[in-house]
Amino acid sequence: MNLRLVCRRLPLFLFGVAMLLSSFSYSQLKVSGKVSDENAAPLNGVSVVVKGSSTGTVSDEDGNFTITVPGASSVLVMTYAGYLPREVTVGNNTTFNVQLLPDVQRRDLNEVVVVGYGTQRKVDLTGAVASVTRKEIVNKPFTSPDQILSGRVPGVNITNRSGDPGAPIDVRIRGVGTPGTNQPLWVIDGVPIVQTTNVTVNTGSSTESNPLAGINTNDIESIDVLKDASASAIYGARAANGVIIVTTRRGKEGRTSLTYDGYYGQQYVPKGRMLDVLNVAQYIELQQELGRDLSAFANQPFVDWQDAIFRSAPTHSHNMTLNGGTAKATYNVGAGFMESQGVELGQGFRRLSLKVNSDIQANKYLRFGESVLLSSVNRLTQSESGLFAAYNGALNAPYYKIYDPNGPLGYNIETEETHGEGATGVNYVWRSDLRVNETRIFSKKMLGSIYGELEPIAGLKYKLTLGADYNVGDGYFFQEAADFGSEQRQSVLVQERPLELTTNLTQTVTYNRKFDDHNVTLLIGHEETSFQFNKMRIQGGDLFNSAVRLPSVASTVASANEADHWALRGLLARVFYSFQDKYLFTFNVRRDATSRFAKDNRSGTFPSFSAGWRISEEKFMKDQKIFTDLKIRASWGESGNQFTGQNFSYLNSLATTIFYVIGAGQDIVRGPAPVVFANKSLKWERSSQTDIGFDALMFGGKVEATFDYFNKVTNDVLLSLPIPYSTGYFLPADANLGKIKNTGIELSAYYRNRAGELRYSVGGNITTVKNEVVSLGDIKEIITGTSGRLSHRTTVGESLGYFYGYRTNGIYQNQKEVDEAIPDANSAGPEPGDIRFVDVNGDGTVNADDRTYIGKSMPDFYYGINLSAAYKGFDLSIFLQGVAGIEIYNDAGSQLLTMSGGNNQLTDVLGRWKGEGTSNTIPRASNDDPNGNNRYSDRWIEKGDFMRIKNLQIGYTIPPKVFAGALKDILTGSRIYLGVNNLATFTKYRGYEPEVTRGFSFQKGEFALANGQDAGGSPQPTIVQLGWSITF
């Protein structure tokens, strides 16, 4: 399939080049110019045509165009959607600066938005669709397309799992609707992407990578987010979490342009974000109190472990884009290279990508084209034994040295002699050295589609799209034989190679007809999707020679397989009807059948209805001056979700990887047994959503506002339900259970204006989401956590997976208070200086029944603010993003406050309880913690609100006239800019990073039932970026 697509691409490309060359051959007079809007901002995509001929071009991002005209008498006609057309006679000029004025009445009328299986005029939209255009995408240090959405789109919240480049990202559209995966469906150039967690090595969630990291954001033209059911229901089975449609750049008719975009940046972690730990004297004093004599180290200097592991890391990106075409064929070819070192040792990301798109109008009736992406990602991530190196390094005894000239590879070994008895000393710098530990995730992506579109009668189109997404992963885990002092190990090499193939076939018939006041669009379609996965894992122990990095060249070799597949079939239909462009109706329906459920529950039908009323078109609105355009929308619809925690969990099946030993020869025998409770009645999860909103354009386009209220209810929630262990199943059972509701509002507004030559705009968006579990069926509660912890609870009436633990009420200050203490099942008896836990249920004893709500990991609201200004060639933009009303379980931080064991601690412990009245928050130091002061309680829950200056950019567009001679002819545009990403983060949270998702464990994937746990991952780095863009 892919090979065929690649073969397909080549002739098209050559064809495109040929067309381009032929267009050069008959040039007579070359003129160029720049088109700008009423505010003198460049207009991209303005059609420039020589009147009375078929010669034409389109202006580029900077408004520049170049065109060949027959002579001085030629007239150029410039047209642009929403603007009044303008004609200019060439005369003796060779350069033009043309300003187009808005046609206020028709502004945005023809602006088109990508919806499922087609496009729609923005004014005709009856659903909630938000778009991000190329302008907001380019020149920003994004590693993957999901990062683009952060703060930009109302209703969408983005949370990075770590600042480690290439780490997974949680994308949440309108809250968390299901306890399983909440990732929206990404459709890239018509191919739905199956996002999996299969590309990992050695199982740890830290090696999970973002499946979208293979996509170069520079290739993207626009991203459209389908939020409500009316917009997304056409994707039925997989649309419950919303749909994100990515359209990559396609060729433009006219002049060929070659653009280079690049930047170079430095990333670092601001000092202020680092953990403030005890110095040598303070540490030794605390340890003395805990019963360890480390005074022998008193004269040793302080070793800043965090400073040794965090680093200033370069990042750079280079993109070449070739774009052009003729009226018959257009093409866009983009090649990109990106490399980013992580801010911690042992992290890095490198991507090579090639994107080729072409479209060909074969004849009057037939149009076809293709879209191919090839990319290769090489991600270096921290190894199991050097995980969360900066945070873990901070736990080291503060005098524990990193280097020792006589040590192995020059490192200080981990023994009692080097760090003292009972003190923590794990050499994370050594363990991050690639000679000792190297963990890489390689992934190659081939994503391609080819389409053919037949239009036998004007308005009737048949479109067939064949797409494939082929991913070859390669997890590579190498550890060299080493003797750390505390741990001796042989060499190990693991290679995990997952292969994933998603194939997709879509065919649609669209009929559009306009007669008088009636406008009708009909769409019917059919889609087949299949997914296949096979993973091979080879592990070699004790390598023959570690220069040969192949697992099979080892003393002991083991292998394992995993495999899965599923298939989906959908039939879809849409009817759009509008009357006088004023009253708009859309009806969508999709029926999907999946292989993931038993036959009886296989099919699901997902309808949606929506209506819009363009009030501004009414007569009574004609005289008012406020609203240029005003539309009220309402929709209701249903969409589905088929993804369960386990594959084939409706079937009784037995794992084949259980073994025992039997016989005189101690032979290893296989013992098949079920490991998952089979739930025959498993069925579709259905989410129904109501949306009411308006879109307004006010004051002649100066103000634009969109508002939406949504109410999304997920029924028959697909849930991995922790079931009693007495059933014999450790793993949770997949079940349809209960109801989850997400309600909220989204508001986005824009104001743009000018003052003299200064153009400026202010925009922002805010989203509130209230998440509530409405029902859990017969189940009273779900208590779970990563690695078997009982840290999160789900109950009716609260948000999904809130933090569940003990509540504290200060510290027992004296013996009298201790004597009056309530009996506590987790305490061996308190002493003065211990934490007082609250008897929440008032039954006179503190025990498991007193665990209670202590916080939640879902925000109340999130927002983004955008400021931009331009003056002459200078431009400035500031983008802020924030989240509020959220708590974090600071698991990492808790280790820095326990005051037991040999870990270094935060300087907060200097204020620990040392006698009556000395502290009411930090208990006494106690090595064995008989009172259970460190049990899971509100002590470890912190506010996670933050606001961050996400991006600041100052740019300067160099006018072509400054270039002399030949350069002047070659260069049509260039801009340089200085950007800062994550300039500052304002938060009270004391961990490295307030963007927190799931805790670390060896179970993969999202963990919506136990989210918001900080395991000590890398913070989002600050990136200072110098970039330039040149168009030839």
Binding site: S486, I668, A673, S681, S726, A825, G902, P930
Partner: protein, 513 residues
Amino acid sequence: MRTSKYSRGGILTLIAFFGMTLSCNKLDLKPLDRVTTDTFYKTAGDFDGATFAAYASIQDFWGTSTETIGEMGEFWKISLVSTDDVDADPDLADGRALDIDRLLFRASDIPWGALYTQIYEGILRANLVIENAAGENELTDEEKTRFTAEAKFLRGFFHFLALQMWGTPPLVLEVKKDLSDLAVPNATKDELYTSILSDFQDAATNLPEAWDDANLGRATSWAAKSFIGKVNVWKEDWPAAVTAFEDVITNGPYSLMPNYEDVFDFAKENNAESIFEVQFGGPFSDDNLWVFDDTHSEAFKASQGTARVWYFDPSNDAPGGHLGWFVPSQNLVDEFEAGDPRLGSSIYKDGDTYMTIDGNSIAELPFDPEWTSSGYSIKKYGGERNAKTADYSPNGQAQFNNERWYRYAELLLLYAEALIETGRSPEAMDIINDQIRARVGLGATPIADPMQALQHEKRVEMAFEPHRWFDIVRWGLGPTIFGSKWQDKYTVFPIPQSEIDRSGGLLTQNPGY
């Protein structure tokens, strides 16, 4: 009319495409990496496998796993560190071991959850054999009876351990199939004893007396009878215990190994003294020791060994890079009388020659008391006889020596106890002196009180075998040994908090937790 021609052509093409592609995906798919039940539980080979799966749950009592709930040799903490025999090294051991050493038993702690999970997983697997043997399959009647008996042996074994640990845990005798009816309430002690004894009785009646070489290590009828005796000791039905033990002693195949060290010799697994042994072996597949991974997401099973050597063997400057979490207590060392050779067989002390796996070779050097916090290290299952590379996984973390769960010496001591309880103390003293002590070359016990003599003898004979905690509880020695630290609630462990949470109020926590 060109247009209409095209339109007709177009529409025809459409229909053709729709028709051609509508059925291109198959929706009736089967798992690719698992067996479905409609093709399993048919042949004797299938049932062998299904039975082995139940045995495999026992291996995992000592499992180490990062995948599931992060077990780190939890059964050693529960059965050894809890007692006065073993301490958790204060600087090296994990917090869970330290808490148990301090008798801080909290319901939310992982050790209970780990064992509870494994025990009930074993019960499920036994129940699957029992239910499927009764269903439609290719087994002969004889095979049906035998597989059922073996599964009942295992079910009895698991329920008995659950009873020892939690007192009144759930009794699960069927495979739960209804999602809305999964939780099981506490069973009474009577219900548990009745079921356990009935299961072992069925096993005693229908299991073979011995297995051929290819099946060595599977439960026998004599093992079942031995368990009937042991369960009756816990039930304090002393006459029934005496009857069962006498049957085994008189008619059974067991005898004490001539040399105490023979018992734990890697080369002498499943020996004449062995009644029930947990089988380990290798090397197999992976380097690591994550045995507790039947639910491992990567679908591989590691070496079939225990991490005994990894947790037991000293750390600090000792060779091999082991953890050294669990160390023998001075109190236990003091319990050995002068000249008792079992001290040297069980414990390393100053002046001994220490042997362990170090990389790919065996290290042999003088034992340095500085290596451990008590100055001692556990030697049982180790030492010269077991320090052979074939006994270890290639990376030296896992050991393949079987766990002698129930051996004839224990049966004799249980028998002696039953004799004391039924007024036949002189006979009990004969067993202690003429069998247990005689084997190690010791004369008659200097302790006059028969019960005290028995308690001393059992402690030193069975040091580091998983029995002492349950004996302490049964003998009521808690206050004597632990003084004011002892609380009555310790006679049973807390039921895992997660299980209470998931039972919807059906399961009651043990008092005090």
